[in-house]
Assembly symmetry: D2
Homo-oligomer: 324 residues x 4
């Protein structure tokens, strides 16, 4: 393998730049030429491709977002789009790809390989931590800490005013951010998509707290919770709880995607970037590089796409015990 | 004056604890007994009052919220409520009050003085910075920095995806937080209640940016903007702009009220707490202590309540120049 | 087991409060009475012991330091001291202990058990991450992020002035903080006690960088490095490098011990606190609770004390590759 | 004025990039061509000069350091050096300069004007806040908050171990950082170069605290204190205090120069950058732009160089009262 390219695709996540840096520096270290593709598959189709060197990635390890920009591409879902993309890669002589993104990105890469034989190694870049094949994904630790900082701030106000706060965090299909930020934030209840928390149970917990004169509470709700988003859940509670509780709702929103990556995310991203390049060198294809139990592993895209990543139900048990 | 009491009232703001600490320590320094009243006027009515010492305020200067808790009181708006409050203060022998809060609090204190002759010196505690009689209010600098951190994070995502973000910050009647966080965050446009920004102007600015291939933009909207909240403004823009811009909306919400106070807020709060006690000692009553041009000043409550605090329109001019 | 006590001992670490909270809440959950002992073994000897409830640990999960205070105890190293300690525990009817600390603490607990039969489960509380029997210790993730924030700030200055900075981080016998903060901070070289980095190699790397016109560099040095502390290493380099490099030294010092714990540390501390109480309930004694590969494990004190915790040499290889 | 140039000189300070951005954008707004000079006067002599546009300063407002790099220049202190610098400026047709730095920079600019008639407007960029002619300098608010964060962390440890900490902050000739970070950090004593704090007074305060069972203390020492640096002061105290106090020393060092600028510093820097360009347009020369009582003012370099900036002694009085 003499020439490879790297791109970011799907939602951006803190640590993507650290991963790009590791891909570029590792390639340089092994004497491989490395190219950057801007705006994901869109840039691949448009030929928005440039050669990168060590200097290209100086002083980016600490930056949120992605210097290669990211996008979702409808055109790459068409045969014509992929044909153009292949021609562009041919033009530059690119023989392998590192794709930093999630399952949408990996699905595209699989089809592309079947059609044109260009191998891709994926790196899991998403704040949701919902990818099978790795303990953690790039951006997840930062997102949890961002959510936690927000919860800490809100608790100041909740305590000062004896309020109950419903805080909605990201996680469409996954309760990872909710559970970790909830435990770390000392939440009384955490509601996640994977496990139903009945409204009656929430009402009961609030009433018990009230009777113990626990006057303020934090309830963390994942955006994909079965009972609805935080505002909907709060409405249901308000209509059921008979005591005079001051209930507020806040949705953390897009701040969870950005920010300076934590040490954990930078190191994870660096290891995965290095592992992705070494994976390509060792003829891996259609696999995602991950870290499980502190070891680099390569998992086929078909598994990362097909298999669910269960949450640790012990964690939900812990929320209950610690809010005693 | 031998015995005074301190309380916080209205919305909590970072730095209130630093102010409480300064009130307590200053009173101790001058040999005055000092009491804390919990939950504002509600606690005054209920007699939720306790003696404070230097130890009571150890290690609180860095904490958000208020250790005395805060509340809005309907009962204090009744004659019966105030009668009860007076009786409680009598019981403890309290001769003067320091009220940390805003105009609602000061209005109550004025009526209370007219009826019972207990003097109050107010300290401006509100993140909105909308009080006449002081350059800055306690909590404002922290709120601006909290909003700014959020804007910084969102810009990472905006840049990575070439998006336009409408970010709603707090400020029902006041654009202070919007303007300062907008300038500091490099916003292209800032919309405030005090000055109408026509939708057509926003559309024009976005189009011009688009033509200069400025692909991402941040628009900060104060919650009290005349054109509506951020979601409403964004809707209007979407229907008018003909180009294919990816527009997102986020509302920062309650995180702006909490958090560790900045150096500025802690120092301001400390100076005002000291100034409030010295004000009571010098027979000030029905006044708010403030800092104007770095000097302590006392402004009658009737002026802080009656007079508007204009924003600096030079700042709006600066937004325009700096987004060139 | 009806009554247990918890204490912190040795150097404080962020997350100790989260661990205390988990111990207290878990004990309450299982109907066990729980006591807090202040200032470690000193307080045990002095009888500085009080009953704790859910309220005692409200709103402490986010605080650095330890509400139970910590100390090293010479008196507990004497037979008389331990005799007094035992009498105090007898007085309160305490049947088991949770000790949050390091190997010094665990050694004391082992002797104490041999003499008086009071079982202890330990929880690893130290920023150094140098304890065998757990992947990570309480406080380590926070310390790494604190060091990293400092490195980020210093890089701003290093870049602006084309300087080489030697940054000394904590870790007397262990390079964990140095390696993780060094990789995450994009350091060109990391010097740790476990592996000798010859001065000549550092000089060579700096010269190579200079020749590639890489004008600024960060070198992270663990305080226990064989070549000396950061100032000593910098002196050796200065005298050997012939080119005109502007070399500066900074020692991060005590800031690394404090601060708001990260999400990771709060969750780790919570799990370990819960695991410690459940360990005592299941008749564990003279063991440290740890987490290895995301599972709770109990390791005998004799092993945590005797066995070294090796650093991952792959990480040192990564530093070299990524500074290409 | 058709063409101007901007440069940074002396020690870097957070907010310098925000100032550069404002200079560039304001010049563009008024139709003036603007150039950046790298590495201060050194780059001026070497002709390391390039044209800047709005894009050159995109996304830098939040970055510490300076994208134009900074240096102290010995060559500019020679007649030959300045001759070369003039020739370079001639080559580019540059008619006016904006210099972001301190008194060393302004002295050079004054001599340069006398010799070659190129006018300079200075902007005060230094974390020390020791410049006459402005209430605050660029970088000062960030440095104070950085020192404060460190003090907050150290207090966690001080409290947990009942220790006395001597913390040295920057400020060779100026106690500004020490006083503000000391008050905000709740320090018991602040030692500054401007006012002698006798060792005996420090000893007395520590003993009194000890007698009131105030077991931990923070003493902030400016690096330029007359009694010596923090380590020296601590030594003197140790030998004089007879009680068994655990005394530690930490020097914050270079972290105080870097970091993401606060809202205050970004706004101040933006206003000063705008004011500097408008100053040149209005034929100002050999002046520093500053903000006093929230108004833009221009002060002759000869005054900023000659006149001292006194600290507010009321602040020292406040330290004493608040540590009661």
């Amino acid at each position: 393998m003499k020439k490879i390219a790297v791109f970011t695709s799907g939602g951006d996540a803190p640590g993507m730049n650290a991963c790009i840096r590791a891909v570029v520096r590792t390639a340089m270290y092994y004497g491989i030429e490395v190219y950057g593709i801007r705006r994901g598959y869109n840039g691949m189709i448009a030929g928005d491709i440039y050669q990168m060197t060590s200097h290209s990635v100086s002083n980016i390890i600490q930056r949120g977002g992605t210097i290669l920009k990211s996008a979702r591409s409808k055109e790459f879902m068409t045969k014509e789009g992929r044909q153009k993309a292949f021609e562009q890669l041919q033009k530059f002589g690119i023989e392998g790809l590192v794709a930093i993104g999630g399952n949408g990105t990996f699905t595209g890469a699989t089809i592309f390989y079947d059609e044109y034989g260009i191998p891709t190694v994926g790196a899991p870049g998403t704040i949701d931590n919902d990818l099978y094949g790795t303990d953690y994904t790039i951006g997840y630790d930062t997102a949890v800490n961002t959510a936690l900082e927000a919860i800490d701030k809100i608790r100041d106000t909740a305590d000062s005013h004896d309020r109950v706060f419903f805080i909605e965090v990201m996680g469409r299909d996954s309760g990872y951010i909710a559970i970790q930020s909830g435990i770390a934030g000392g939440a009384e209840i955490v509601m996640v998509p994977e496990v139903l928390t009945p409204i009656s149970e929430v009402v009961e917990t609030l009433k018990q707290g009230w009777n113990r004169s626990k006057s303020s509470s934090i309830i963390v709700v994942a955006e994909g919770d079965e009972e609805g988003n935080a505002a909907e859940v709060a409405e249901k509670i308000k209509s059921r709880v008979e005591i005079d509780i001051d209930i507020r709702v806040t949705t953390l929103g897009h701040i969870q995607r950005g920010g300076i990556p934590t040490a954990y995310d930078r190191i994870l991203a660096s290891r995965l970037g290095l592992g992705a390049v070494e994976g390509l060198m060792n003829d891996h294809k259609n696999v995602m590089v991950g870290i499980i139990h502190n070891e680099i592993v390569y998992t086929p895209f078909r598994d990362t796409i097909r298999l669910p990543k269960p949450i640790n139900e012990d964690m939900l048990r812990m929320v209950k015990i610690l809010s005693t």
